[in-house]
């Protein structure tokens, strides 16, 4: 017997990072018996990935099905999705919202409304979801619930009298939340009798079962044995497993109906067949596709190349499988000169980049070299010949190209470069305004406006080059505001700037992977910092290694790595050939994570040092 539709509620938990979404979600699991009480309250079951536990943040949105006996005596099915708070994973939030009718907007009762509180709230409103404001952490001595309620009214225009006061840590307000979910969020619309439409909102590759799809049924129903069609790929499959997430996969012999959230397996192996956002329908009663997800445009790009024992083919397979589980990750093959063949990959931010790289290495047991991150630049080319390349008034229409790697910048000149700009909001305590303004003007920020949130906090708005934001602004903001400042930004178009490409030459070989584009006034400084970092990381060779940073043919920084104080290794008196070979192989093995740039062995750490040099360069 399928569960009656009016007894289903779908909601997600959204908030700024660390405001307690996962902890709260876990409390809801415990309160409804989906999981046992545990002693260790700092480890959430929902943050199951190693990386999530290590960093204490949620990376992937996670769906769980709860059974809740309401005071009206009815048993409700609550499908909860816990989402990440960090801005780099906002695509997880966007997609989760599309599988729900309502959300809990969690606000830390001591931190108050922060940048992602606003951003995520606006996303929920865009989807017409019912929003239940929830003040969390009211147990904290520093909690200021009344003040924060005022903030909520002011900045979100939400009626704060509806806000629930809770403490995920102490289990306060949990029942109120469950009741509010049932009472305030509408049951899913959808018609069970209609042709089946199910939205794929996430997927993961499993070596044994093939691709597992996470779905939200909008209309109709799905059962084990059904022949389904993935509308976009037009492929058909037979459902071998279907069920709910509690959070582990529990089969649902009665199938899933309109309004429900769950998973299906259908022995899908071809990665290209599956796209998150696609619609599932039945083969013999096909329906129209649902609106999918808006594609995200990557903010940052970097190259990923196999190194050590890993091969291009292994990396390709990993990248393909991985992109299934991370719908905001973009990739395309590229050739990186000295680095051989690899992939140009796009990310939503630096944390996203870092996490993707680590997940790829861990989940697929790969060794990789990552090249310096860069934003997408628009390059206006010189000279145009075809008639359609002239404006009406006869002036030449500049032709332009988009580049995502410094290597693509034409060597024979161009008219101008434009860089992506963002509109960025900082939320901070009023006494930190001076420090933040200094920080931002050092990074070419243009002041837009300043607003107060009550008396103690304010919002600063700047227009800034994205390139200046991605490297280290977040960390720097945290440090100048002692952790109280938060930021949120949005792409706002391209703008011409005086940018140059700085080439890095390792022993006279230009290394594309190390080249970078930056503002002219910073070029020398950054060039020097990188050369210095490289000098520390590249081991001594049998010969002197020259390092240079150059703009065109003009060298702006140089360093030399002295050759090794040569050890006498000619002592060997022969003996066992195999033993000797193994010794040499072991020595060579020690150079596993090295990439050859011309004749120079460059350790992976050197490529990373280049990233590091940016944040330390001030």
């Amino acid at each position: 017997m399928p569960h009656p539709q009016h007894l289903i509620r779908n909601f997600c938990i959204i908030a700024h990072i660390d405001h307690g979404k996962s902890t709260l979600a876990e409390r809801l699991l415990q309160a409804t018996g989906a999981m046992k009480e545990r002693d260790d309250k700092d480890l959430t079951v929902l943050d199951g990935m190693d990386l999530e536990r290590e960093r204490g943040i949620t990376i992937k949105a996670k769906a769980v099905c709860l059974w809740y006996k309401h005071k009206d005596g009815q048993l409700y099915q609550l499908n909860l999705i816990d989402t990440p708070g960090h801005v780099d994973f906002s695509y997880e939030v966007t997609r989760s919202l599309q599988a729900c009718e309502g959300c809990l907007l969690v606000v830390d009762a001591s931190q108050g409304v922060q940048a992602q509180t606003v951003a995520n709230y606006l996303l929920a409103v865009e989807q017409n979801l019912v929003v239940i404001p929830t003040l969390n952490k009211i147990d904290l001595p520093s909690a200021r619930p009344d003040l924060i309620c005022a903030e909520i009214e002011e900045s979100l225009a939400l009626d704060s009298s509806l806000a629930i006061r809770a403490s995920a840590k102490q289990g306060i307000g949990i029942t109120e939340i469950l009741e509010a979910v049932v009472e305030r969020i509408p049951p899913p619309a959808g018609e069970r009798g209609d042709r089946t439409q199910a939205l794929i909102f996430d997927a993961i590759y499993d070596d044994y079962r093939g691709i597992i799809l996470y779905i939200r049924l909008k209309n109709g129903g799905l059962h084990k044995g059904d022949r389904i069609r993935l509308i976009r790929s037009t492929k058909t499959y037979e459902i071998s497993d279907i069920g709910r997430l509690r959070p582990q996969m529990v089969p649902a012999p009665e199938g899933l109906c309109a309004g429900e959230v769950g998973f299906i397996c259908a022995a899908i192996k071809a990665l290209t067949d599956v796209k998150v956002g696609d619609t599932i329908t039945l083969e013999d009663a096909q329906a129209l596709p649902l609106p999918g997800f808006r594609e995200m445009k990557p903010m940052v790009y970097c190259g990923l190349y196999p190194s050590g024992e890993s091969t291009y083919d292994q990396l390709r397979e990993a990248v393909e499988k991985f992109s299934l589980n991370d719908a905001s990750f973009r990739w395309s093959p590229e050739s990186g000169g000295a680095l051989g063949h690899g992939f140009r990959c796009g990310f939503l931010g630096m944390l996203h980049m870092e996490i993707c790289q680590e997940r790829l290495e861990r989940e697929f047991d790969l060794d990789m070299v990552q090249t310096a991150p860069t934003v997408t630049y628009v390059v206006n080319l010189r000279g145009a010949l075809a008639p359609d390349e002239f404006e009406k008034d006869g002036t030449v229409k500049p032709r332009s190209i988009e580049i995502t790697t410094p290597g693509e910048l034409p060597r024979d000149g161009y008219d101008s470069i434009e860089e992506p700009m963002v509109m960025i909001n900082f939320m901070l305590p009023a006494d930190k305004i001076g420090a933040v303004m200094q920080l931002v003007s050092d990074r070419r920020g243009e002041f837009q406006k300043q607003e107060y949130l009550g008396t103690a906090r304010c919002v600063l708005t700047y227009k800034m080059p994205l390139a200046e934001v991605i490297y280290d602004l977040f960390d720097k903001l945290k440090s100048v505001t002692q952790g109280y400042g938060t930021m949120d930004y949005e792409f706002c178009g391209y703008q011409k700037a005086d940018l140059v490409r700085v080439d890095i030459l390792v022993h006279n070989n230009p290394c594309d992977a190390l080249a970078f584009i930056c503002h002219k006034t910073n070029a020398e400084y950054r060039g020097r910092a990188i050369i210095k970092a490289l000098k520390e990381e590249i081991p001594k060779h049998l010969f002197e290694v020259a390092l240079q940073a150059a703009i065109g043919t003009r060298v702006i920084a140089r360093e030399t790595i002295k050759s090794v104080g040569k050890n006498v290794t000619a002592k060997c008196y022969g003996g066992d050939v195999t033993r000797k070979r193994k010794l040499l192989e072991k020595q060579k093995e020690g150079k596993k994570r090295m990439k050859m740039i011309g004749s120079v062995e460059v350790p992976q750490a050197a490529f990373m040092a280049v990233l590091k040099s940016r944040s330390e360069s001030e």
Binding site: L542, K566, N567, V568, A570, G575, V577, L584, E585, S599
Partner: protein, 379 residues
Amino acid sequence: MALTAGMPPARHLYIHVPYCVAKCPYCDFNSIAGRDAEHAAYVTALLIEVQRLPRGPYDTLFIGGGTPTLLAPALLARLLSGLRSHLDLAEGYEWTCEANPGSSDAERFALMAEHGVNRLSLGVQSTQDRLLRFLGRVHSAHDAEVAIALAKAAVPRVSADLIMGLPDQGEDDLLADLALYRRHGLEHASVYHLTYEPGTEFHARRARGELADISVQQSRRLFDFAWDALEGQGLVAYETSNFARPGQESRHNLGYWRQRDYHAAGAGAVSTLEGVRTTREKHPERYIEGILAGGAAIWKSEVIGRREQLTEAWMLGLRLAEGVSVSRLEALGDQAARWRPLGEALAREGLVHLHDGRIRLTRAGRIVQDEVTVYLMPR
């Protein structure tokens, strides 16, 4: 014989005699002191194994040790005549036997010459009695002088081994050692730098701080010194530690360095045939037992695939003055596109020469040959 069937032909054969009077404190070779009573059975086992080998003809034969000259003359005669009757030697063959000055005499050398041995390699190690004592050798400097003279009288080619780089060895000591070759008109020299091999007494003493490596600078000086002195005598360094008047190189050892296949017989002896490297039981008792029981007394076998061959091509080829052949590398799948930029970087630094389709170490490169090898060889 069933066991011979299908055994691939090779032009080189190594025969091992594992017995010594006493174990030298620096030595990690497969050698064992005493066990005189076992010698006869060992020779029997050796000859059984040799019988199973293809008859040849062999270009080179090498009897090494241990101390082959430790065998009693009658046993030595049995071994030599057994080898003669089971094996054919090619026209112009080279047959070397190692000899320890402590157990060399005219009778044994005459026996060897009589049976066809035409080259003797003497373990002199030093011309200074105090250093010989330090090395725990069973012979004196005088014994070595006598042994060389006897060897010269018995066979046409004589080589002597020296060890340099001892903690208490001065340049004048080494100079005196090197004078040996001119004094006796020897056409071949092996001069090894002392190494502390795991498992040896010296290794343990160094770990306890009783012995210490000489300084890197001193090692380099000694190398330069030895190379200059020997070349001055017309002995050319054709390998890292081996010097010869042109044409007098050890053809047997060249076979190893050029990666030729070779047969072997004896305890702990290693053969390499068609990509399989086989080591026999190291302990003579186990070896004898295995062979007498009709088996091959194999301790371990290792497949030397293309990768291993390639690494060895670099490792062994760079030891030789003639260097590594580019076409050999190519045949093993190592393309010039991979190693040439590396080779050129080292050439610019004067560490290697790239010439005539070969890569060779220069003198400066030879000092750091392991590092050069590791840098050039593929992963």
